[in-house]
């Protein structure tokens, strides 16, 4: 009899599914919590309220009404911060009518319905930096966003987070010098060589300095450049070859502004120089076989790049390189470790380090009281390729659950 009662209740329970009500307080219990801000916590608890972490540690009392996620022996770490992600934007990333376009803001083109957002969340990324495309020498302003929200405003957590400058050959793409015929459209222009890229940067910096000296205020392009040279807006320079990295360092010294190096494919060749200048590096995507780089820019890829830079003392962030097709960030982190990057540095390189570089370390990057509740629950050691992301929590809400 009892069996049938239980059986009946089983059948009746089946259609009922737990709806996602948002209880006031959420608690996560986990075997190992990697806070990224100190030693890992064993058998700890995280309390979350209103999207923020209210308490974290061992021996914490869980309130009665709290909804509890018991992650058993699993590993918990902060949501990943991708310092160079593929933007969830419709259409072209590049405004090509001019090479110098500081006023272009990629955040104005955000598409909250982009299919890229799903993959971003599934791979554990809860904060990301998006940039305009790399076809312009001065491409425009990027922003820090979270993959959540119905409108662009709800997504953005830091507007004008950096100004994108491009020294790699992407900015040469499509340009042609008029030879035998008169120019037909605006693609007939400089730069078509490395010389011209550097000249355009110097000219822009020079114009900016003159503009500031003259006390003028009416040029929107130069206003932004002036803020950048004044270190009010961080400058991210996209470079790949070592000679370009050297030139970048020289320009930064000459015009006296702080620099962040983006991609830095041959950074390993000049690691000490970068470390000496205390410049942070946001590394490009890891790949064994360079796909998108030309013979010049891809000739001397070194898999140990991240390891070498880190050991020389450079602050390094690992990223997906603004490509939607690169391997997921956790796997890339494991590869970096395989090729010489110390483990804890590698994990920091996708959490607190990029958060610091992006200037949002007050909100994300570690699991600490007061920060956003952006949390990953993993089936095991994050650096093992066989580990799965089981759950992704963003601003205290579960946004992804593995099937």
């Amino acid at each position: 009899m009892k069996a049938y009662v239980i059986l009946l209740s089983f059948l009746l329970l089946m259609p009922a599914s737990a709806k996602d009500e948002q209880p006031e307080i959420m608690a996560i219990k986990a075997g190992k919590i990697l806070t990224m801000s100190g030693s890992p916590i064993t058998d700890g608890v995280i309390l979350i309220k209103d999207g923020k972490i209210t308490d974290i540690g061992t021996g914490i009392e869980i309130p009665e009404k709290a909804s509890v996620i018991d992650a058993g022996k699993k590993v918990v770490m902060p949501g990943l911060v991708d310092a160079s992600a593929a933007p969830p934007v419709r259409g072209d990333l590049n405004e090509e009518y001019k090479e110098i376009t500081p006023t272009i803001r990629i955040s104005t083109a955000l598409d909250p319905q982009s299919k890229v957002l799903k993959r971003i969340v599934q791979t554990g990324i809860t904060t990301l930096y998006i940039s305009p495309g790399w076809r312009n020498v001065i491409a425009g302003l990027g922003a820090v966003i979270k993959p959540t929200g119905k409108t662009p405003k709800e997504m953005i957590i830091k507007e004008d987070a950096a100004l994108t400058l491009v020294m790699s050959e992407d900015s040469l793409y499509g340009n042609q010098i008029p030879r035998s015929q008169p120019p037909r459209n605006f693609y007939f222009r400089r730069p078509t060589t490395r010389m011209a890229i550097i000249w355009m940067l110097r000219k822009s910096f020079f114009d900016t300095q003159e503009y500031v000296k003259a006390g003028e205020k009416d040029d929107p392009d130069l206003e932004i450049l002036a803020s950048a040279l004044d270190d009010k807006i961080p400058v991210r320079l996209n470079v790949r070859r070592a000679i370009n990295i050297r030139t970048a360092l020289k320009l930064a010294e000459e015009y006296d502004f702080q620099l962040i190096l983006d991609e830095c494919t041959e950074g390993y060749k000049v690691a000490e120089e970068i470390a000496e200048k205390k410049i942070s590096v946001v590394l490009g995507p890891f790949y064994y076989y360079p796909r998108n780089l030309s013979q010049y820019e891809g000739r001397e890829v070194n898999w140990n790049n991240a390891g070498i830079l880190t050991k020389a003392g450079v602050k390094v962030a690992l990223t997906s390189g603004a490509q939607a097709q690169s391997i997921d960030l956790l796997t890339a982190t494991a590869f970096a470790v395989r090729h010489g990057m110390p483990k804890d540095e590698a994990l920091k390189a996708v959490t607190i380090t990029p958060a610091e570089i992006l200037g949002v370390a007050d909100k994300v990057g570690t699991l600490e009281k007061g920060k956003d509740a952006d949390i990953l629950i993993l089936s095991g050691d994050p650096l093992k390729v066989t580990t799965r992301i089981e759950k992704v929590i963003l601003n205290g809400k579960t946004v992804y659950k593995a099937e």
Binding site: D92, N94, Y97, T108, K150, P220
Partner: protein, 390 residues
């Protein structure tokens, strides 16, 4: 000598008076109808509309009509206000492909679409036959800042009878069509930067160096000159709303097909929507969007975008919307008074009320039934179309 001159002048002056006759409808006209869909005052059954000098003098239930007045007896038919097509491109080209975008330049606010309008064009006649009496003429979607829209009637003996608004507002476009590979802007971020740049330049504009383009943009930013912003996806609509907030624009959204997903943003700012033809879509989810928007408190008017889409069926959008859940009364309003209010011409058109223009459509059944046909169209009291029996 002077007397002869005076006399000739008098004779010359009197000739026009004799010529204004012929095919005009009489000054006074009464229409008896089985059902009068007034839109603003409900349905009057077995009523009468009295027209004088092209205006509605009276609309009432009592069937008695003053003497010496011509009576049109439509006691078994339905009469509704002339339909208003809130966004189209008719009469702008002689060929089947309209030239409705001046794409060499991306920003052309000084252009006025009324300058390209040919009231005798074939497509104007075809649209008239479907019961549309007033339209908003607009440029296309290929310029981020296009030209100025106009509100015109599809018939009028004099320009002042025909042109209700020479410049009704400026057309903006945030659609993919405004992006071009060889002309600025080439990207979405570039498009928005361009619009912001132009609107920001207004601050620096000095009136002592007159610039027609800047004058128009100045009126947009400072004088509430309406902007008709063409959008489709959620991100285009949120971008439009951001512009409205930043520059305090007096905006109307054209299309806004995915607007139901962020209806609160649109309704919260009282931004009206001129919706696209419903039959552009075939999925139930898309067909219901306009219904969701109306339910969400957004004022909606229908449009045809003719001749880019079809020429004959503004009413079909309303009929299809009703089929997918739109309230019948709201549907009727969306064909008439809503459009009139959005376009700022509701003092003259949009409902059957005393004092408004006598723009009427007579149908042989409920206007929201697809089996009903337009039998007659009257503009300013003149019969401009009458259906021939086969």
């Amino acid at each position: 000598m002077k007397k002869i001159v005076l006399l000739s002048i008098l004779i010359l002056l009197s000739i026009p008076c004799c010529m204004v006759k012929a095919a005009d409808a009489p000054e006074n006209l009464a229409i008896r109808a089985g059902r009068i869909w007034t839109v603003t005052d409900g349905i009057i059954t077995d009523g009468v509309i009295i027209i004088k000098n092209g205006k509605i003098q009276a609309v009432r239930k009592k069937p008695d009509v003053p003497a010496e007045i011509e009576v049109l007896d439509f006691s078994d038919k339905d009469v509704m206000p002339g339909l208003i097509d809130a966004h189209c491109h008719i009469g702008l080209s002689l060929d089947i492909y309209s030239e409705i975008d001046e794409t060499v330049l991306a920003v052309t606010p000084d252009m006025q679409i009324i300058d390209a309008f040919n009231p005798l064009a074939d497509d104007v006649k075809k649209v008239l036959r479907s019961g549309v009496t007033t339209v908003l003429l607009a440029p296309g979607n290929k310029n981020p800042i296009g030209g100025q829209t106009a509100v015109v009637k599809l018939f009028g003996k004099k320009t002042k009878d025909r042109v209700l608004k020479r410049a009704a507002g400026v057309k903006f476009s945030l659609r993919d069509e405004a992006l071009m590979p060889d002309r600025r802007p080439t990207s979405r971020a570039g498009l928005l930067a361009l619009i912001r740049e132009e609107l920001n330049n207004v601050k620096a504009y000095k009136e002592d160096k007159p610039d027609l383009r800047m004058e128009v943009l100045k009126s947009v930013v400072d004088a509430n000159f309406p902007v008709y912003i063409s959008t489709y996806t959620v991100d285009e609509i949120t971008s439009a709303v951001a512009l409205v907030d930043e520059y305090n624009l007096n905006a109307v959204l054209i299309g806004a097909e995915q607007g139901d997903e962020i209806a609160d943003l649109i309704a919260g700012r009282n931004i009206p929507v001129i919706y696209s033809p419903l039959l552009l879509f075939s999925r139930d989810k898309d067909l219901k969007r306009v219904v969701n928007m109306a339910d969400g408190g957004i004022k909606v008017a229908f449009s045809s975008s003719a001749p880019e889409t079809s020429l004959s069926d503004l009413r079909t959008s309303a009929i299809t919307a009703v089929k997918y859940g739109l309230d019948k009364e709201v549907a009727l309003k969306s064909l008439t008074i809503n459009a009139a209010q959005i376009l700022g011409v509701s003092k003259r058109v949009g409902s059957i009320q005393r004092g408004k223009d006598a723009d009427l459509v007579i149908l042989n059944g409920d206007p929201l039934q697809p089996t009903s046909t337009v039998e007659m169209v009257i503009i300013n009291g003149d019969i401009v179309y009458q259906r021939q029996k086969i």
